[in-house]
């Protein structure tokens, strides 16, 4: 049974992505006690699935490494993975959070030596790679995963495979008898940092994500670039695993659209500008390598404009002011064909590309109104800054469509708001 010490001077942070980690660490480094819970088996969230950040084109793992180190050396933070909040009751300075922990079937004895994984052959969809490939049913979520501890997929528990994994472990780290646990934590303030999820691309019917193999989403494209990803760092067409060189990026895929997400997801323009540089990175000055960005407005705000300018100067990249009307497929080569009109003076096009990347919109990944009442969310489900929210504060992409930098900034602010609550509590009790 997991035992967690928490009082109404403890801050509960829900979500272990970059925002949740930041909120937890910043608060802990101010001397506050924090419980950080994450629903997946490892911390890192969406950023751990990114290849590079805009505009620096630096590697997300770098910042995660620092944060993980800060977090591990800090004895005030308690991390619970595979844990989700199912209910929140109580009031500012005095909440009770019900937390469900799903079994990992591997305990803290795990040394991540990998013997268990070597012992099994069963495979499951690789969620970390958006199910673009498979992984062993006993796996380390990803190379830099923290906790650096293996996970056993429930599908092999109670099968010979499961037993094989258990037998392979010299350190009694495999425990197939683990059951789902439910904890009740008393906490003073709650930071809701559950992040975002990509909008369901299949719903954008004209683009045929569900019909055409070579139409993918921007998050999937990020995974392709990762050496440890499903394509070993190559841009390969799902239809035939051939290199895709002539790539189209479609902006506002789901965003700014009354039929889908009414808000602008803010990051997608910069994400596509960034991804257009991957084409050059991958193919050098290969003539065939091209990136075409179909857009309504390019929203490269503040100094991101510098990056936009740089990309505009790249002869490989072209911009078409147009919301693509629909996509059809070339029956012979499975190439997507984009149909539409460039509205800067009415130019009709039917452009064939090797691969289409949908700059997919951002929506909150967990609905807080499902676990508690009285928290103000906007029409898109993002948590607003509102006095009525009491001691519950949104952080990062749970509070708005934000890029990483702004999400972290916002999470730092949320940490202070939570500290204000627990300081009031301790002040009252002192």
């Amino acid at each position: 049974m997991t035992d967690v010490v928490a009082t109404n001077e403890t801050i509960l942070v829900v979500g272990g992505g970059i925002s949740g980690m930041t909120a937890a660490i910043e608060a802990a480094e101010c001397g506050k006690n924090v419980v950080l819970i994450e629903k997946s088996p490892a911390l890192g969230g969406r950023v751990s699935q990114l290849y590079k950040y805009f505009p620096k084109l630096c590697i997300p793992t770098c910042g995660l490494e620092i944060n993980v180190r800060r977090l591990r050396f800090n004895k005030r933070i308690r991390v619970l993975t595979m844990a989700q909040v199912s209910a929140i009751t109580g009031d500012t300075g005095n909440y009770t959070a019900t937390i469900k922990i799903t079994p990992r079937y591997v305990n803290e004895n795990c040394t991540a030596c990998g013997a268990c994984a070597d012992a099994v052959s069963a495979e499951v969809d690789n969620a970390f790679n958006y199910n673009m490939n498979k992984t062993k049913a006993v796996f380390l979520p990803f190379n830099m995963a923290y906790p650096r501890r293996y996970v056993i997929d429930p599908s092999i528990v109670g099968t010979p495979e499961g037993e094989a994994a258990k037998a392979a472990c010299k350190y009694d780290a495999v425990d197939l008898s683990m059951k789902e646990e439910t904890l009740e934590l008393k906490v003073g303030a709650i930071i809701w940092a559950t992040g975002w999820q990509p909008y369901d691309a299949a719903k954008i019917q004209p683009y045929g994500y569900d019909r055409f193999a070579n139409v993918i989403t921007s998050v999937e494209f990020e995974r392709m670039m990762d050496k440890a990803g499903p394509t070993g760092g190559k841009i390969l067409r799902p239809s035939d695993n051939k290199e895709a060189k002539n790539i189209a990026f479609i902006q506002c895929a789901g965003s700014r659209d009354r039929n889908h997400l009414t808000h602008c997801s803010r990051i997608c323009c910069m994400a596509s500008l960034k991804q257009s540089t991957y084409v050059g990175e991958q193919y050098g000055d290969d003539e065939a390598a091209k990136a075409s960005i179909y857009y309504i407005d390019i929203r490269a705000i503040d100094r991101f404009e510098d990056f936009y300018k740089k990309v505009q100067e790249d002869p490989k990249v072209s911009f078409i002011k147009s919301k693509v009307a629909n996509i059809t497929e070339n029956q012979e080569n499975r190439n997507p064909i984009l149909h539409g009109v460039n509205t800067e003076g009415y130019h009709r096009y039917d452009n064939e590309h090797d691969l289409v990347v949908l700059a997919i919109g951002m929506q909150p990944s967990a609905d807080i109104t499902q676990v508690t009442s009285g928290v103000h969310t906007d029409a898109s489900g993002f948590i607003q800054v509102h006095a009525d929210n009491g001691g519950i504060f949104g952080a990062g992409c749970a509070s708005n469509a934000l890029d990483v930098n702004r999400a972290v900034q916002n999470a730092t602010a949320a940490a202070l708001r939570a500290i204000q609550v627990v300081n009031r509590v301790s002040g009252a009790e002192a």
């Binding site: 019917q205 004209p206 045929g208 019909r211 629909n326 059809t328 497929e329 029956q331």
Partner: protein, 302 residues
């Protein structure tokens, strides 16, 4: 359970010796099998079709449809209004929507209707439905499958949905770009749907087949060609205009582009009638200019 009854709006093309008369024949046939009753709206008038806007304008067009709604209220009170023709359904449904949105329009419409001695007590409650909605929603594929006596085995059929039964309203749960209900119906009748058919929602030109034949026939050609390319031997559709346009211009297209199109274009209801064991005549197959021989064979089988 009580026999299902609907307030039926057949529409001009379904009239005797009109371009979709055979559609009506087949619908009447399956209504017997499925045991539902169609009560024709007495003295119904034309919906104005999509082309009616140009000369008719807004209010007159809505008045036409409102007249049918009023007549239905009067004579078939409480029954859903059901149309077999896509344009009739769309026109009526559009008016129905606008009336419920705009009190101004409703008032004006009532005023106009008075002139026809009708007093529209409009509450916007009676749904306006297309026959395929009735089949899918009130029966469901499983129910529709039960009466099948002669599965249409081995017939490859392209489901051409077209525009107006699909957009802007469409059939609940279907996508605008890739509706699957015709494929499901076809399958339910034991035939083989051509699911990869990629022109199922391409516009046939509609009324512009008359005014802009060249432009429309380019569309029609695409629709037929793709059906052939994907190995279809028959096209099925829920819309009289689609049926007419795709079927009757094949010779002209053949002349112009020297193609060899000769593909039957039938109504979903004709497939059902045959599968339910009705005769070719009951299925209205004698109404097809390009004979649906495979269906006729099955129909003639004992």
């Amino acid at each position: 359970m009580a026999k299902k009854e609907y307030s039926f709006y057949p529409g001009c093309s379904s009239e005797r010796k009109a371009s979709a008369s055979n559609y009506l024949v087949s619908v009447e046939t399956i209504s017997k099998t499925l045991d539902f009753k169609l009560n024709e709206i007495p003295d119904w008038n034309c919906c104005g079709a999509s082309i009616g806007y140009a000369e008719g304008g807004e209010l007159p067009r809505h008045a036409m449809n409102a007249r049918n709604i009023a007549l239905s209220e009067k004579h078939n009170a409480g029954q859903d209004i059901v149309a077999t023709c896509a344009a009739c359904w769309l026109g009526t449904k559009e008016t129905h929507e606008r009336l419920s949105k705009s009190s101004q329009l409703l008032a004006d419409t009532k005023e106009a209707l008075k002139e026809a001695g009708l007093d529209l007590d409009y509450k916007g409650e009676v749904p306006i439905r297309h026959m395929v909605e009735v089949l899918i929603e009130d029966y469901g594929y499983e129910e529709l499958g039960k009466p099948v006596k002669k599965p249409l085995e081995g017939i490859k059929i392209a489901g051409y949905v077209g525009c107006q039964t699909n957009r802007p309203f469409g059939v609940a749960g279907e996508s605008f770009e890739n509706p699957k209900y015709l494929d499901k119906l076809t399958e339910t009748m034991g035939a083989e749907p051509v699911e990869s058919y990629d022109q199922k929602v391409t516009c046939c030109g509609g009324a512009l087949a008359f005014s802009e034949p060249e432009k429309s026939q380019v569309q029609i050609k695409k629709i037929i060609e793709s059906a052939y390319d994907h190995g279809a031997e028959m096209i099925v559709t829920p819309c009289p205009v689609c049926q007419m346009n795709v079927e009757v211009y094949q010779d002209q297209i053949n002349k112009k582009y020297n193609t060899k199109f000769k593909i039957p274009v039938t109504y979903y209801s004709q497939l059902m009638a045959v599968a339910y064991g009705s005769s070719a005549k009951e299925a209205g197959l004698n109404g097809n200019i390009v004979r649906a021989t495979r269906l006729e064979e099955i129909a003639s089988k004992k």
